[in-house]
């Protein structure tokens, strides 16, 4: 045992003793410390929270819950959740290695949510917006009937109130347990976006780690402006499926936010710390464009 190991062991022992004394379980210990998946550094949770769950050392963006995202983006206590009591069923009586109903219960416990999206109206630096925020912890953020319905109602609500609509995605794709019904949610949500377009309501999408499949191929990439969060993996087909199809190794940066930016698929890549400011700026510029030119002036311009 090297001297260093000995010290390490002694420190751990001391820490464990402290824990026993203060009756903190191992579970809570993991709540006190976070480990970066990218650079493996252990970071005190407090510090991580202060840095918006971005690794202070390597800038890796941790996957975050819908609630945390809302706290980060919306003005304090401004977010009012809507349609929170829409709950999933098991329309196909789907059972794989587990019953779909049991999977839903597990997902509730794991995510503290009753479905994979939280929708509501809130303010971003004073600008009112309707937002749908997905949570990967609930069944991989998959889109079934409930996600489709909540996103659609949110878009319809944004249109009714004539306010910008924001969708923040984090999803593995459509929910297989609802089969074709989940496929139809892609059509349903996209039809709602079509109405927002026709009413000239600004629709912004923020693609976060990870966004794939049915969400990429529907409301996720239909934003008038598409923002990708730094480092997020975004794509249509999964990496493994592509590798198996083309029998080729893929470049390491394949399907990252930065890769998509390079190929012109997103408008910008945003660091988490700059996201709120970016959204505020985009909303403000668009909103002020609408009110800045009075109708009279418009008429005069068109006459001239």
């Amino acid at each position: 045992m090297s001297l260093r190991d000995w010290f390490e062991k002694r420190r751990n022992k001391q820490m464990n003793a402290d824990l026993v004394e203060s009756k903190i379980s191992g579970d809570d210990l993991s709540k006190l410390w976070g480990k970066c998946f990218n650079c493996n550094t252990s970071i005190p949770q407090k510090e991580l929270n202060q840095s918006m769950l971005v690794c202070p050392k390597c800038d890796y963006h941790f996957r975050i819950s819908a609630r945390t995202r809302i706290e980060q983006l919306f003005d304090e206590n401004s977010f009012n959740e809507i349609n929170k009591n829409i709950l999933p069923c098991n329309p196909l009586d789907f059972v794989d290695t587990m019953c779909y109903k049991d999977r839903q219960q597990d997902a509730c416990k794991k995510s503290n949510l009753n479905e994979a999206v939280v929708t509501g109206i809130g303010n971003i630096s004073g600008w009112e917006a309707a937002a749908a925020v997905m949570d990967f912890a609930y069944m991989g953020g998959s889109m079934g009937s409930v996600v489709g319905e909540k996103v659609t109602r949110l878009i319809e609500e944004g249109i009714r109130r004539k306010i910008p609509i924001i969708a923040i995605t984090s999803s593995g794709g459509a929910r297989m347990q609802e089969s074709c019904l989940s496929l139809m949610q892609m059509a349903k949500t996209s039809c709602a976006v079509a109405r927002a377009n026709e009413e000239k309501i600004l629709y912004i999408t923020v693609l976060t780690e990870p966004t794939f499949g049915g969400v990429t191929a529907s409301f996720g990439t239909l934003g008038d402006i598409i923002i990708a969060e730094q480092g997020a993996r975004i794509g249509f087909a999964g990496r493994r499926v592509i590798e198996q199809t083309i029998r080729q190794k893929l470049p390491p940066d394949f399907q990252t936010a930065e890769y998509l930016l390079k190929y012109g698929q997103v408008d910008m890549v945003s660091h988490r710390k700059e996201l709120k400011e970016t959204l505020e700026k985009i909303i403000r510029i668009h909103s002020q464009a609408k009110t800045f030119i009075p109708n009279e002036l418009n008429k005069r311009i068109s006459k001239a």
């Binding site: 009937s145 074709c180 139809m184 349903k188 996209s190 039809c191 079509a194 049915g214 529907s218 249509f236």
Partner: protein, 320 residues
């Protein structure tokens, strides 16, 4: 049965009975013994057996029929039901994806736009059509033709037979997801009738990308799903061998999807499947198209749009 077709695994017993009948006929002809009664009884039994077999197919048996290499393709239907077919090529941005084909034609004097995913029957054809798996450019070609149809008041008929949109490097670089998403959104804005027919495989977003329609029909033995049964099995059961279990669980048959309200009707196939009688299935399909076009002929553009919105707005099952 058509002796040129290779029997599917579950059809082998039928072929054996038919071989026996054939033998009896030969025997009767050669020896001059009258076996007509026996042959008649056996033929009746065989027909009854076939009816039973094909009306109780499991989802994975239907998969085999839906993917049958001799099943008529989009272009086969085009030549069987239309006149003056005129194909249009290209996405006007550098590519002509052959997996999606489009053009104008007339069906019993009615001018229409036809767009479909195309699968080949030979290896050479399949390479040309990329096994019916479109690239983003294919969806963009379809979109260009949708707009064209909208501008010139041509009802749109789309036919779908695809194992899915192509998963590849270039497809991701040029926005496979975005191309499909944009089609879903833009189809919602069109002011002409849109009819879609799932011919064989209707797999995932790749199928839906040209199927946000006023009426969606499925051929009796086709399937329509969010992911292929093989894909679903390898994710949820962690084994592609569970594909038939996944096919059962996912409710992918026309009958199931009609019950779930995902589709509007089923086009009945000839006994054994569409590949046994192309003319018969083509005339069934044509009748359905004509009837549906007539039914929608008095609807205004706004009405058609609303009809489409309401149709998809209703989809989904949840409690509140």
């Amino acid at each position: 049965m058509n002796s040129l077709l290779t029997p599917l695994e579950f059809e082998k017993s039928i072929y054996q009975i038919e071989d026996k009948i054939e033998e009896l006929k030969n025997l009767s002809a050669d020896s001059g013994i009258n076996l007509d009664d026996q042959i008649k009884i056996l033929t009746e039994q065989a027909t009854e057996y076939k009816k039973q077999l094909y009306s109780h197919l499991s989802p994975s048996q239907k998969l085999l029929i839906a993917r049958h290499p001799k099943r008529p393709s989009f272009l086969d239907y085009v030549s069987l039901i239309t006149t003056d077919w005129t194909e249009f090529h290209g996405d006007r941005a550098g590519t002509d994806d052959k997996a999606i084909i489009g053009g104008i034609a007339q069906i019993e004097g009615k001018s229409v736009m036809l767009i479909g995913t195309q699968k080949g029957k030979t290896t050479k054809e399949n390479i040309e059509y990329n096994f019916g798996m479109p690239q983003p450019e294919g969806y963009r070609k379809a979109l260009r033709l949708f707009y064209h149809a909208d501008r010139f008041n041509l009802p749109i008929i789309t036919m779908i037979d695809t194992p899915g949109a192509y998963p590849g490097i270039k497809a991701e670089q040029t926005g496979q997801g975005i191309a499909i998403a944009v089609n879903l959104r833009e189809m919602a804005k069109l002011e002409v009738p849109i009819i879609s027919i799932i011919l064989g495989e209707g797999c995932s977003g790749g199928a839906l990308g040209i199927a946000v329609s006023n009426r969606v029909y499925m051929l009796e033995h086709s399937y329509y799903t969010v992911i292929s049964p093989e894909g679903c099995a390898s994710i949820l059961w962690r084994s592609a061998d569970m594909a038939s279990t996944a096919a059962d669980a996912m409710k992918i048959t026309a009958e199931d999807l009609l019950k779930l309200g995902v589709i509007d009707g089923i086009i009945k196939e000839p006994l054994g499947g569409a590949h046994y009688d192309w003319d018969l299935i083509a005339s069934e399909l044509k009748n359905t198209v004509i009837e549906t076009l007539n039914e929608m002929s008095n609807m205004s553009g706004e009405h058609l749009k609303k009809d489409r919105y309401d149709k998809f707005r209703r989809m989904g099952v949840f409690v509140e």
